[in-house]
Each structure stands twice: as C-alpha cells, then as structure tokens.
Amino acid sequence: MSADVAVVGAGAAGLRAATVAALAGLSTVLVDSYERSGGQYYRQPVSTPHLPSRTQVEGRRLVDAAYTAGVELRNSTSVWDATVSPDGGVTLRLTSGDRLSTLECRALVVATGAHERVVPFPGWTLPGVYTAGAVQALHKAHGVAVGQRVLFAGTGPLLLVAAAGTRAVEVLEASRLAQAGARHPLATAAGLWRQGERLREGLGSAWRLRRAGTPLRTGWGIVRALGDDRVEGAVVARLDADWRPVRGSERALVCDAIATHYSLVPDTDLLRLLGAAMEHRPELGGWVPSRGPLMATSVPGVFAAGDCTGIGGAGLSLVEGELAGHGAVRHVTGREPRRLPLTALRRERRFQRLYGALFTPRPGLAVLARPDTVVCRCEEVTRGSVDAAMTAGARTVSSVKAVTRCGMGPCQGRICLPAVAQLTAAGPPPEARAPLVPVPFEAVASCG
C-alpha cells in the first residue's frame, strides 16, 4: 500500500504531525507498535475508566483529532526495515503479529519517542528490579503493585511521579535539584515559565510522598541490589558532584522491589537505519538527528519530531510534531505553511534546556558496575568482558559490540548501549540494522 505521508509513532509528536498532514488533504498513515495510541505519555486505557486522568483526556482529544482529520491509524504494527527509494520516497516494511506488509510514502515523519535509560549496578538483573516506567504502567494501567516496600532511585521527573501513589520506601534523586536551581536562577525561572501544569504535577507528587511519609533525598543513589533470586534489599549512598557514591556514606535498607530510571534515551534506530546524519548531544539524551527547518533530517523527505530527536517532553513534542507535519506537507505539495507555533517552540526549548541541565546523567555512575556485573541483559555480557575488549583495542560502541556481542540480543542494544557509550571514547553512533524488531522467520520467507 502507499500514502502521501507516513508517520511512525502515535505519541504526542506523531499524532500532531499526522493530523496536520491529513488536514492538508494528504493521505496519511500513522503506524504505532502498541495496541492503544497516545505514546507513553498520552496512552489510552484499554477500558474507559470512571475518572479518566488529565493526560488520558488530552490524549483522547489528540487521537480524536487525528481520526477526524482522516488519518489512517495502524496500531500493533512495527517498522522492521526501511529504505529510501531512488525516486525520493521511503519504503517501510511493517510487521503486525505474524503478518508482514509494505508501505510506500512520499514523506516520512519519524516520531518514535524515547525509552528509559537504565544504568547497570550490581544486582540490577535480579527479578524485582524494574524501570520506573514499568512500575508506573503496572500501577496505572493494571492497578498492580510490584511490592510493599519499593525503592525508587535514579534521575528525572518520572521517578517522582511514578513513586507517588505506590508503596515507596524511599525516593533517591541523583541530581541536587535545589542547589542547581539556586545556582542558575534565571535559567530555572525561564525554563519553568508558563509550565504551570508541569510544576503542579511535580509539586503534587512531592506532596503525596510527604503525606505518605516517604523520604525524598536529592544527591543520593543506589549502589547495589541485594538478594539471591529476587530483590531483598539495597545499598544506597550519597553521591558526589559527578554522581559517584561517596565512600563511607553507604547504608543498607530492606525493600522488596526497586524502580530505577536515569532519564530517557531518544529512540533513533529507524533514523540511523535510514542514514540520517546524527550528532552526540548528552544534554538531549545522547545521539540525536541533525535537523534543518521544519524538522527536516539530512535525508530528503524524512522529518523527525519529539523525544526521538532529544528529550523534551510532551509539550515540545506537540510543537515539533506540528512543524514536522508542515514540513512533510511542503515536501509533498510544495505549499509553504502559513502559521507556525514559534512562540510555543521557544518556551518549550527553554524547558528542554532546564531539563537537560538538571537530569543529564553524570559520568560517576559508570563506577557502579563491577567486573562480574552483567551489562548486556540479553547476551549476558559482563562489565569485565567490555573492559577486556577495550583494553584489547576496541574504542567505540560499535567495536565493543562486535567483539563482545553486547547489544546484539533481541533488545538491539536499547538497554545496554547507552551505558556502554559512557565507557567508550566518542565515535560514530552504533549502526542500526534490519530487522529493527524480531520478525517471524516464516513470515519473511513467505513474503519472498
């Protein structure tokens, strides 16, 4: 099948981009790997709750707007391969369960979002250690608690939001938020300008923790998880300015689950597969696509918007999605956009800069993994193997991957490679290869 515009990712950026393209009269297909649209922030519930949350209501509005505009939504569908055609379009190869299909488009908007960054520490592979997002999803979508005493440790607003409302024993935020804010009062004020909703959410979470008697400590972090076959406790410590545990400050605590999360990593594998030029921007979450006006990447006809281009949250994603939608329309029709949300873009960029200043992981976290700590969960590659490969001459993420198989399992390095990148010298971004997601072999064979 074919469409004028294809959009990958039905979160804030993708929904908005697809709506703009469809309203311009272009045939638009929006592909998303989840059953429910909305992305991680605006995800729509399976059954209608009696009292939908603010994000669910806002998300409903975004999804409805896309439907009304005529966007064709294809959920439970993932892109496993993509190629740029000689005539300028893009061919996407899709998988939905066991079914494979092909989608040709004249312009593509990549809005694949981000996933959580997890920093390996001894014991992080024990059952009972989760990402903060997993704990939040189980709690919000299913009403299921992962434990009676849950330790939250890492960095980023999601940590606080996920902890509020669960049975948190302590919340350890690595960043010293108050000091950082006091050191840069102007940037802090500018970043929070007209971000009332976000402030309310953050302060509301802090208030709920306080009321529940859960300590929130900034400048603290997890050192290791304790237990043989499941989590039974943890060792935590004060962190120095580089987020290295301060010797002598360690203490053990009892917990039955650990939720961890060190901000987010942009999901760029589709962009890298298409050959888009990338740049390394730690304050944006790592490797991100270089972009021109209207969110155009270096590949003609390919646009990128939202968290996959640098962590900025739902507000920035909506604005970027709108711009990318106009970019795709201009690419297909030659029509210049009339009005662009540039004031909102400037406001959200200020918030993005503040977010990066507060929540970018610091290099001291790299000391947590010991030689016998598994770094790559899929292939069970230890920190010792990675260090040995580097001693033997592997300098970049790609060469460590080739020597150790680290990052070659089914998660495609999404979990481990951001951590490996902290250890290796700067180099080109790791190569993305098809299939981006596991594809049933029989299905590939049958499609020829």
Binding site: H115, P127, A134, V144, V146, E380
Partner: protein, 89 residues
C-alpha cells in the same frame, strides 16, 4: 459472569487470578510471581523489567508459543503460561 469477576490462567499448572485488560506480566506480578524465564548462559531467573516491550527480558511461553513478551501479551481465559528455559525451543 461480569467483566469485573475476571478469570483464571495457569502458570506452570497452578491457577492465577486475572482481570480483563491485564497482560500476562500484570497477572503474574499481581500473584507475586517475580520470574518466569531462565537465561541461556547463566540459567539466571528473569521477569518483568522495562514493562513496555523493548527489553525482551520478560519472555515467556504461552499456549506452547515461546518467547512472547509477558508485558505486552493480553491474558485470555485458560491461557497455559509456562516458565521458559533458554530460548524455549
């Protein structure tokens, strides 16, 4: 039976209560099960980790099909869920 009554699935032969809209991972977690896979090399226990389908750590065998992500697969009445050893093949 109304939708709030829920239903049962089986984990390694034992009954596990389940509600409409739950994933296999949610049902196992709610029942206190923390691991349902052992790794290929170290035979270490693993269960839910990222919860959104990207880490592939929560692989499980459901109705004879190995390597399904427990965090994504919706539970259905009578599902036969089994611990997966290695690649499960």
């Amino acid at each position: 039976m109304t939708s709030t009554d829920g239903f049962e699935i089986a984990f390694d032969g034992a009954p596990i209560p389940c509600r409409d809209g739950w994933t296999i991972g949610a049902a196992l977690t709610a029942a206190g099960v923390r691991s349902w896979r052992t790794t290929r090399e170290g035979q270490r226990p693993r269960g839910l980790f990222c919860g959104i389908g990207i880490c592939f750590d929560c692989l499980v065998t459901v109705n004879g099909r190995p390597s399904l992500r427990a965090c994504l697969v919706a539970a259905a009445p009578g599902d036969d869920v089994r611990t997966q050893h290695g690649s499960g093949r």
